[in-house]
């Protein structure tokens, strides 16, 4: 019994998330000791405000990567949705809530386009979303002719991105709701389990009767819809919508997800890991400023952390693969060849 509890604690301690949490705490302690203003409530809220959009993208990138896919188009979609949101409001004369709902619909539709191409035509997600990455950004630029920006939003809307509600940044409750929802989806429902099963073994999932295509579609549609939500919050925070909104965000989001322990091969990963990944990057970025270090160091450290995280999670997997490969081969030769 003592042995098994020892194992239990070892498995908790050696978890990716735990290590990341320790890194995060160390980061916090260090920056708090060098930058006097770092630990203040105001600064904490600043960190939250600046990481909500990327955090949202990272949250919904998690199920996508769990299925063994990837979505490069979320950053571009954020830009497109920001523009369309402004367009709906200013040019189509919609009230802001209606414009918001329409934007969310567009986001879901765009995710649906990715999903349709990936599941119906069995195209690799990397290429499909690379294409839509260009397409969505290009549409945003085309709609605004590259220069048009949408500003002068009413203060009641800007509140969402710039003000406090019950003492916390107004976008924080939205983020928390989405985070809880995605966490429940991935960790509390059969959907999340299906994502993992598909990521581990798409054929195995099919043999177990899981509707593989529908589950994959769900992940991409969700990613699209939440990218649209991120676009609205982004617009509220900056007070303007421009075609280049969210440029490069897809890479930040993927970095956060992989840093959070999700395997790029699919199957392994958690939403809380992703949240820790987002937090680690956000704190690093903000803290280095307080430590009077150039902001670029944060980027370099993020890249280094990512490589480290990657090696630590990929190496055991590699071993287990090598181990499982040999006997699998022995049975493979017995599998029948269909006669023509």
């Amino acid at each position: 019994m003592a042995d098994s509890t020892g194992k239990f604690w070892k498995s908790i301690l050696l978890r990716h998330e735990t290590i990341l949490l320790i890194v995060l705490v160390l980061e916090w302690l260090y920056f708090n000791s060098v930058g006097p203003r770092f630990g203040s409530l105001g600064n904490t809220f600043d960190i939250v405000r600046h990481s909500v959009e990327i955090g949202l993208l990272a949250l919904v990138m998690t199920p996508v990567i769990l299925t063994g896919g990837i979505d490069l188009s979320v950053g571009s979609l954020l830009g497109l949705c920001a523009i369309l949101f402004g367009k709906f409001w200013r040019d189509a004369g919609m009230p802001l809530p209606v414009a918001g709902v329409c934007t969310l619909g567009i986001g879901a539709l765009a995710g649906g386009l990715n999903a349709a191409l990936i599941t119906r035509l069995r195209l690799p997600p990397l290429i499909v979303t690379l294409g839509t990455y260009s397409l969505f950004r290009g549409l945003a630029e085309a709609i605004t002719s590259g220069v048009d920006t949408f500003t002068n939003f009413p203060a009641s809307f800007l509140f969402l991105g710039q003000d406090r509600w019950l003492g916390i940044p107004a976008q924080a409750p939205i983020f928390i709701i989405v985070a809880v929802a995605v966490w429940l989806l991935v960790h509390g429902t059969t959907f999340g389990r299906s994502f993992r099963a598909i990521g581990f073994a798409p054929e195995g999932a099919r043999y177990a009767g899981i509707p593989v295509n529908r589950r994959i579609a769900l992940a991409y549609v969700l990613a699209g819809a939440v990218a649209a939500l991120a676009a609205i919050i982004y617009t509220a925070r900056l007070g303007q919508a421009k075609a280049d909104a969210g440029t490069g965000y897809e890479l930040f989001a993927i970095t956060a997800v992989v840093l959070g322990g999700t395997s790029i091969f699919g199957g392994i990963g958690s939403v809380h890991g992703t949240l820790l990944g987002v937090a680690a990057i956000a704190v690093l970025n903000n803290g280095l400023v307080h430590a009077r270090q150039p902001r670029e160091v944060a980027g370099m450290l993020t890249g280094g952390l990512l490589l480290l995280a990657l090696s630590s999670s990929a190496v055991p997997r590699l071993f287990s693969r090598l181990r499982s490969r040999k006997p699998a081969k022995a049975t493979q030769t017995v599998s029948p060849t269909p006669a023509s």
Binding site: F191, E203, A205, A330, V334, T337
Partner: protein, 502 residues
């Protein structure tokens, strides 16, 4: 003169499964030596040891009198060992000429490629074996037999001293077969040693000089082909005493649970299958590798839906277009390749067990860990799965226990029709008899069981009736108390000897 190739006491295990238990074998130059045995007798493993793909755990390999301590694919190639696998290992994106070139030319990166030379050689080699293939086509556009011919051309071009052919005729037409035989005889006359693996006895008698029979990872005898008859060979192959005691058969079967009328599926080569399975009955599905048994199961389970014929469950005609539909209609399929299809190795036992009943056990899609744990524990107890708990990943289990988890997943769906594909392959003896008892019990409780197996004693011991498949269709229905010889003869197509299967 020392033999061209000599194996002494070669052993090889995969985890708990002992694939080769001390096999000795020798091959002379200028000889065609047939290797015969049931599926899983260890032929493929033996071949892989000779080609360097697997390292043996024990025993020695001698090539032309020279002891070879370590055989890798590259050194095997250098020693003049060439192998034509059942499933050709060609580059699908490259042309035929290039595939042959890559195989035959030294793997130095700085050489320039002589394209006309490659093409000429490819054309010549293909002509020598009488294959009508354009050297410039990409391999992905070739049919399976054409790819096999390319493999043979490679071996021919390598001027190998030892050529291994693993069921080379499994998918050839009669004309291609005759050409192949001529090629093989030509090789022999040039002093090459040929190891020839085939299930077709008539081929072995037509071609081989000597024959070695493998059974359960052991060699049970080598003799001159002329000294053997088909009957004596079949006896050697299946001759094992039925060592396990099979559970007794059930009483009278009930209503027809599953009935197929002229079911066909073009994509998987299933033709006009007609079959009935009654509730409480175990129907064994026998046949050789490639006879279409797994393909038939995939058709029934909606993985490759049928495109003609009628499938009825409990007397009602149904269309099954996906596994989800099959499950909803009361069907379950325990697949053959459990590591890839049967369970998900990285996921816990509990998740594996409930994977096909997610809708029922998790209303509203919310996971209920307690209920899941409870159910899984029940199955762990019921099927005696050896594990530390429901949270253990499937990959941590031994083969037999993995199979039990795979079974548990499907029993949890409470199916009316259960299709088992090689339920005891790679499973140790203890778990095997447990699984057999379980199958019997399920039948007694009123399930209709269709059991695919390549293990003849299992088929004979477990089945109430035996359907034998060959060439994508059912060629014989035998009573459960048939003898091994009868089943083997039907599977080998002996009754219709001389009729070539294409």
């Amino acid at each position: 003169m020392p033999p061209l190739l000599q194996l002494a006491n070669v052993t090889k295990s995969f985890g708990a499964v002992r694939a080769l238990k001390g096999v000795s074998f020798d091959l002379q130059g200028g000889e065609i030596h047939a290797l015969l045995g049931e599926n899983g007798a260890g032929k493929s493993t033996l071949i892989k040891v000779v080609t360097g793909a697997h390292q043996p755990d024990g025993g020695t390999i001698t090539v032309a009198g020279q002891l070879v301590p370590h055989l890798s694919p590259a050194s095997a190639h250098k020693l003049g060992i060439a192998c034509i696998y059942q499933q050709p290992a060609l580059f699908p994106d490259l042309t035929v000429a290039e595939n042959i070139g890559l195989r035959l030319e030294p793997a130095t990166a700085t050489r320039t490629v002589n394209w006309p030379g490659r093409r000429d050689r490819a054309a010549k080699l293909l002509k020598r074996i009488g294959a009508d293939i354009d050297p410039d086509t990409e391999v992905r556009n070739l049919s399976m037999p054409e790819q096999q011919l390319v493999e043979i051309a490679c071996a021919l071009g390598a001027e190998a001293r030892i050529v291994i052919m693993d069921e080379p005729t499994a998918s050839l037409t009669q004309k291609e077969q005759h050409l192949l035989f001529a090629v093989v005889r030509g090789l022999r006359d040039n002093g090459v040693g040929v190891i020839y693996i085939s299930h077709r006895l008539e081929e072995i008698f037509a071609l081989a000089d000597r024959v070695t029979v493998l059974r359960d990872g052991e060699s049970v005898g080598t003799s001159k082909t002329d000294d053997m008859t088909e009957t004596s060979l079949i006896r050697l192959m299946v001759g094992r005493e039925v060592s396990q005691i099979y559970p007794p058969a059930a009483g009278a079967p009930g209503e027809v649970a599953l009935s197929l009328k002229n079911v066909s599926c073009g994509a998987s080569g299933i033709k006009n299958v007609t079959l009935e399975v009654r509730a409480g009955e175990v129907v064994g599905l026998a046949g050789l590798v490639g006879a279409g048994r797994t393909e038939l199961a995939r058709v029934l389970f909606g993985l490759t839906p049928a495109d003609a014929g009628e499938i009825a469950l409990q007397g009602r005609a149904v269309v099954i277009a996906s596994p989800a539909e099959a499950i909803a209609k009361g069907m379950a399929y325990v697949p053959e390749d459990r590591r890839r299809h049967g369970i998900i190795l990285e996921m816990p036992i509990a998740a594996n067990v409930t994977m096909a009943i997610q809708r029922r056990i998790f209303p509203g899609a919310w996971l209920r860990p307690k209920a899941e744990r409870q159910l899984t524990l029940e199955y762990i107890r019921d099927l005696a799965v050896k594990t530390y708990g429901p949270e253990a990943p499937g990959g941590s289990l031994s083969g037999g226990n993995q199979q039990k988890v795979s079974l548990a997943r499907w029993l949890a769906t409470k199916p009316k029709v259960l299709i088992l594909d090689e339920p005891t392959q790679g499973v140790d003896v203890g778990a095997k008899s447990e699984i057999h008892k379980l199958i019997r019990r399920l039948a007694r409780e009123g399930m209709a069981v269709l059991m695919i197996s390549s293990d003849l004693p299992e088929i004979l011991g477990m089945s109430d009736r035996i359907a034998v498949m060959r060439g994508g269709t059912i060629t014989a229905m035998l009573p459960g108390k048939s003898d091994a010889h009868e089943v083997m003869s039907a599977a080998l197509g002996q009754a219709e000897k001389g009729v070539a299967a294409c």
